[in-house]
């Protein structure tokens, strides 16, 4: 970043720890940005004249006579239409070789929306993936994470969702993304010819971990610009929030804070909420939808990170490999979209809620039948039918490689019902059975 003129240069650091350094200075604002020998830093503590700075890239090699320059402002992002199609690092500096973005200077991590000025989310987001559209319908203004083990193809699914969703802008916040995954996103967006509506803020595993704390705020500041100022539909992808939380715990540890559950800072809930609550539907038309990834360690959702996330977000999506069909599916039991009630059967066909519930119930019956089989009990005819239904349901609807519209999903479900069950076994309201039961 450019050095501004007329700034006082301090050269006497009094204390250095792994992530912070302290010096005597006056007239400094809290959360103000500074550079220490050119490295970006932020004020995290003021005590009299004693200023403590957190250096994002670490303090390795910082001498006590390092040049410290205060910038007189918190971290900012310049926002304008020029952001579209560009790739930035965690500080908002271009990493695609292009020129600096000119625009209005905005503080990142700004204030929250007055709750009475929000609108209830009401617009369906179609992804073509039946595991999402049919069972866990997404709505603009929603915030929802994928809870996935690191080996699952969540980045691919997210990229697919992003491209199919009819968003005006897609903003990628990559935290601790491997370089390979970063290039994957870049390629996918490029091949889809969607680069002009993508904006990326990326911290890869090659960058210092603490830097990634800036990424969500950068991404969401850009999102607010397009959603609020430009009234656009904005989709924000945040991957991987677990690595973000890990960075929080590194900082709080170095600040000598007492850790709470799972070594996470006591403020984890508020820290995550501040990010996710930026998801909003504005009454004037723009919206911010957040789809995030929270990686789990072997499916454990009681860990502090997924647990706090679950209390904040409006549902969660689970991916699972279905060994019966050899494909990754969206798990219908553990996945949930809390906002689906606002759109299903209203913006989709009327039979949607009933078909969705009946299919999941029959799928659950199949799971019971499978347990019975594994325990060596005899199967009834109904058990056998549910199991063959489950295989087809999984393959034709739950698998993530499905790409059809919601009406086609509903028709497929009816076909499967008709093929495997009697009307009474499916137990759907008579008026829908009359209209849609396949002959």
């Amino acid at each position: 970043m450019e050095t501004q003129g007329f700034k006082k240069i301090y050269t006497k650091i009094t204390q250095i720890t792994k992530a912070t350094c302290s010096l005597q200075a006056s007239g400094i604002g809290y959360e103000e940005m500074a550079t220490v020998n050119g490295r970006l830093a932020q004020v995290v503590k003021l005590q009299g004249d004693n200023v403590t700075l957190q250096i994002f890239s670490g303090t390795e090699g910082i001498p006590t006579n390092a040049e410290v320059i205060f910038m007189g402002r918190p971290p900012v992002l310049k926002v304008s239409e020029e952001l579209a199609g560009r790739f930035f690092n965690a500080y908002g500096e271009p990493i695609d070789g292009g020129p600096e973005v000119e625009g209005e200077v905005r503080e990142i991590g700004g204030p929250s929306v007055n709750p009475v000025r929000r609108k209830q989310p009401s617009e369906l987001i179609a992804t073509g993936i039946a595991g999402i559209d049919l069972n866990n319908t997404l709505v603009t203004g929603q915030k929802i994470p994928f809870f996935a083990d690191p080996d699952q193809p969540y980045n691919q699914v997210m990229a697919m969702v992003a491209l199919r969703a009819k968003a005006d802008k897609i903003i990628l916040g990559g935290m601790g993304l491997t370089n390979d995954d970063y290039l994957y996103y870049k390629n996918v967006f490029d091949n889809a010819g969607a680069l002009d509506r993508i904006i990326s803020f990326v911290n890869t595993t090659e960058n210092p971990p603490v830097e990634r704390l800036l990424v969500p705020d950068m991404a969401l500041t850009a999102a607010e610009y397009f959603a609020f100022d430009k009234k656009e539909t904005v989709l924000v992808l945040l991957t991987d929030m677990t690595l973000y939380a890990d960075a929080l715990s590194i900082v709080s540890n170095r600040m000598d804070q007492i850790p709470s559950k799972d070594s996470m800072p006591g403020s984890l809930y508020s820290d995550l909420a501040k990010i996710y609550e930026k998801a909003v539907q504005f009454p004037e038309g723009g919206s911010i939808t957040i789809i995030a990834v929270t990686t789990l360690s072997s499916g454990d959702i009681t860990h502090a990170i997924p647990d706090n996330t679950g209390y904040i977000t409006e549902g969660q999506l689970f991916l699972r490999r279905d060994s019966d069909i050899g494909k990754v599916i969206v798990d219908p039991f553990r996945s949930l979209s809390r906002l689906k009630q606002l759109v299903i059967g209203k913006q989709t066909r009327k039979d949607h809620p009933q078909v969705m519930n009946a299919a999941v119930r029959l799928y659950a019956d199949a799971a019971n039948a499978k347990t019975k089989l594994e325990n060596g009990f005899d199967l009834t005819d109904y058990d056998v039918r549910t199991m063959s239904f489950a295989r087809e349901y999984s393959n034709d609807l739950l698998a993530i490689d499905v790409n059809i519209d919601t009406t086609a999903m509903l028709d497929t479900a009816w076909d499967l019902f008709g093929k495997h069950f009697t009307k009474a076994e499916v137990g759907i309201k008579q008026e829908f059975v009359d209209s849609y039961w396949p002959e």
Partner: protein, 589 residues
């Protein structure tokens, strides 16, 4: 409190929203001060004093604040403004009116008036000149929505006063003097419709706080029938995410038989509050036929709003509740979620480098929680009328584990425990209140037992306990069946299990999204419980365990159709007849 000179100070240290201020005069614990930040005044509260340093928690972001900035102390604690015009408002945790704020984004340092002091109200006097009054006595009344809003002697007044004059019936502004009273020394004091009260102090303008005894109907069967809550009682709802805490709380706020509802959305999702904003003005209150919003006040401090104000929000809500209780009203206070409030305490305790208790929560967490729950209750006012605050808080236990400090501390303070179970939620048995783990201590109160016997039926309590026992035995039978296999147990086990399933499906489960089933009046609950127990008490004839399941499923299905039908309607009676026929097929005479 009226000191001649206000204390001032200068900022000397900043760590997130903990700001250390060097002061030049006396300060008191919990005193409110305003910190200057480039012309914006940030509200803060003193939470610790060390020598001439006051540690304050700022209710806003401290970004950009500098050492040396001036601070003004106000000489009072965090106060709310009490008067007509609170009802139906949307406040933040510090009682700022969210609707009068300018712009889409919350600006820090923007504080809006809680009450419109210039609004005119139709006043009717209650007291007359010459009456001797104390704090909390009713001087007059104005109509706020449909509630008779009492104008009272301010709660801060100590001792006895004599009324010199009360304004005659007429229209007055809220800020106008409506009565003049004289104290023991004969000095005159003007009283308006508005008064202030510090939120952390309970309002004690009542003569007696007896044990609560009157059932508070919520229309939710698993609460009213199985684990009843009483007027002035306390309860809490712990549950992992996705188990339906919010849906249950919304059901309570829509249906509960209370005069007014105060919802403290404390550190939860903004979209959930938006749902209330959007739906409550449209929904009808079944008891008054008016819109639900008219009896609802919302204190919204959502999870992205400042953390310190989150702690204040529950106190703000409770104080408003106490104010309306002093008018002789039945108040239901809902707080979602008290865990977020406890987390706010933890964040602050952490920044002050206090020695941590379990899970890094402050050591005095149990004391803070229990003294807060103690502010609820049923009271006799000075004039003999009664009022109540029923408090139900939700708890969001980390990892769904009920052995964490907030749940355990709350369990000691609250008398009803509505445990939401992940397993029940997963199998879509809503409301997912666990029938075995949950309890209501009030069922053990002789006062309530008498009330139930007199107002529902003499054998009501016996029936409820019998149903609970059947559920327990059904669960035991189910475990045996799972271990030994369907054909490895006597048929009797299947019957026992399926009888408990009838109670589960017909009484415990309830469709919160169905227009009719969502709320069941107590008379209906009584009839359904008796019908279900009729099935449970009967003997049935089965030769083969495979026939048990389909037959009971038919029974349950007919019962459910009854639940979905208008009470005592044609449909209801049709299913009643059908039920009798199905039962006859298998019942042993």
């Amino acid at each position: 409190m009226e000191e001649n000179k206000m204390t001032t100070g200068k900022v000397s240290g900043i760590i997130a929203n903990l700001v250390i201020v060097e002061v030049d005069g006396p300060v008191s614990q919990n005193e409110i001060c305003f910190i200057n930040l480039a012309g914006v005044r940030l509200m803060a509260e003193v939470i610790k004093v060390l020598g001439n340093k006051a540690y304050t928690q700022v209710f806003e972001s401290t970004r950009g604040l500098k050492v040396g900035e001036p601070v003004e102390f106000m000489g009072h604690m965090l106060e709310v403004t009490l008067g007509p015009g609170i009802l139906s408002k949307n406040f933040d945790g510090l009682q700022n009116d969210l609707d009068t704020m300018v712009g889409t984004f919350l600006k820090r340092g923007e504080y809006t008036a809680a009450i419109d002091v210039d609004k005119a109200w139709d006043f009717t006097p209650i007291a007359k000149a010459g009456d001797v009054v104390v704090a909390g006595d009713w001087l007059g009344e104005v109509k706020e929505n449909w509630i008779g809003h009492k104008i009272m002697v301010p709660f801060k007044f100590e001792g006895k006063y004599t009324i010199k004059s009360v304004k005659p019936a007429g229209t007055y502004k809220a800020s106008e003097t409506i009565a003049v009273i004289t104290d023991a020394e004969g000095s005159e004091i003007n009283i308006s419709m508005i008064q202030k009260w510090p939120v952390k102090m309970p309002i004690k303008a009542y003569t007696d706080k007896p044990r609560p005894f009157r059932l508070m109907e919520t229309g939710v069967r698993i609460i009213d029938t199985m684990n009843p809550i009483v007027e002035g009682g306390t309860g809490f709802i712990p549950g992992p995410f996705g188990s339906g805490k919010t849906v249950l709380q919304h059901a309570l706020s829509k249906q509960a038989e209370a005069d007014l509802i105060i919802v403290a959305a404390c550190g939860e999702r903004a979209n959930e509050v938006v749902e209330i904003f959007t739906e409550f003005p449209e929904l009808d209150d079944p008891r008054t036929g008016r819109k639900l919003m008219e009896r609802t006040t919302i204190i919204a401090n959502t999870s992205n709003m400042p953390v310190a104000a989150r702690e204040a929000s529950v106190y703000t809500a409770m104080t408003i509740g106490e104010y309306y209780r002093s008018m002789g009203l039945k108040v239901l206070l809902l707080a979602d979620s008290t865990s977020r409030w406890a987390q706010a305490l933890r964040e602050m305790s952490n920044r002050m480098e206090e020695l941590p208790g379990p899970d890094a929560f402050p050591m005095d967490l149990p004391a803070i929680i229990s003294s807060f729950y103690a502010r609820a209750g049923y009271v006799f006012l000075n004039n003999g009328s009664t009022g109540s605050i029923t408090f139900i808080g939700t708890v969001s236990p980390a990892g769904g584990n009920l052995k964490e400090p907030v749940t355990e501390s709350t369990k000691k303070a609250a008398r009803c425990f509505f445990a939401l179970s992940q397993q029940r939620a997963d199998s879509k048995r809503y409301p997912a209140v666990d029938p075995i783990d949950s309890y209501s201590k009030y069922l053990e109160y002789p006062e309530l037992q008498e009330y139930l016997a007199a107002n529902i039926a003499p054998d009501w309590l016996g029936n409820v306990l019998e149903a609970k026992n059947i559920l327990l035995r059904g669960k035991e039978a189910y475990e045996q069946i799972n271990i030994l296999g369907d054909d490895g147990v006597p048929i009797d086990y299947h019957l026992r299990y399926w009888k408990s399933e009838v109670i589960d499906f017909v009484i415990l489960q309830q469709d919160a999204f169905d227009k009719i089933d969502c709320s069941a009046p107590i008379a209906r609950q009584k009839e359904m419980l008796e019908k279900v127990l009729g099935v449970c008490r009967a003997d049935f004839d089965f030769d083969n365990f495979e026939d048990v399941n389909p037959w009971f499923k038919r029974v349950i299905n007919v019962f459910k159709q009854m639940n979905y039908s208008l009470y005592q309607s044609e449909d209801f009676k049709k299913y009643e007849t059908e039920l009798a026929e199905v039962i006859k097929e298998r019942k042993v005479a």
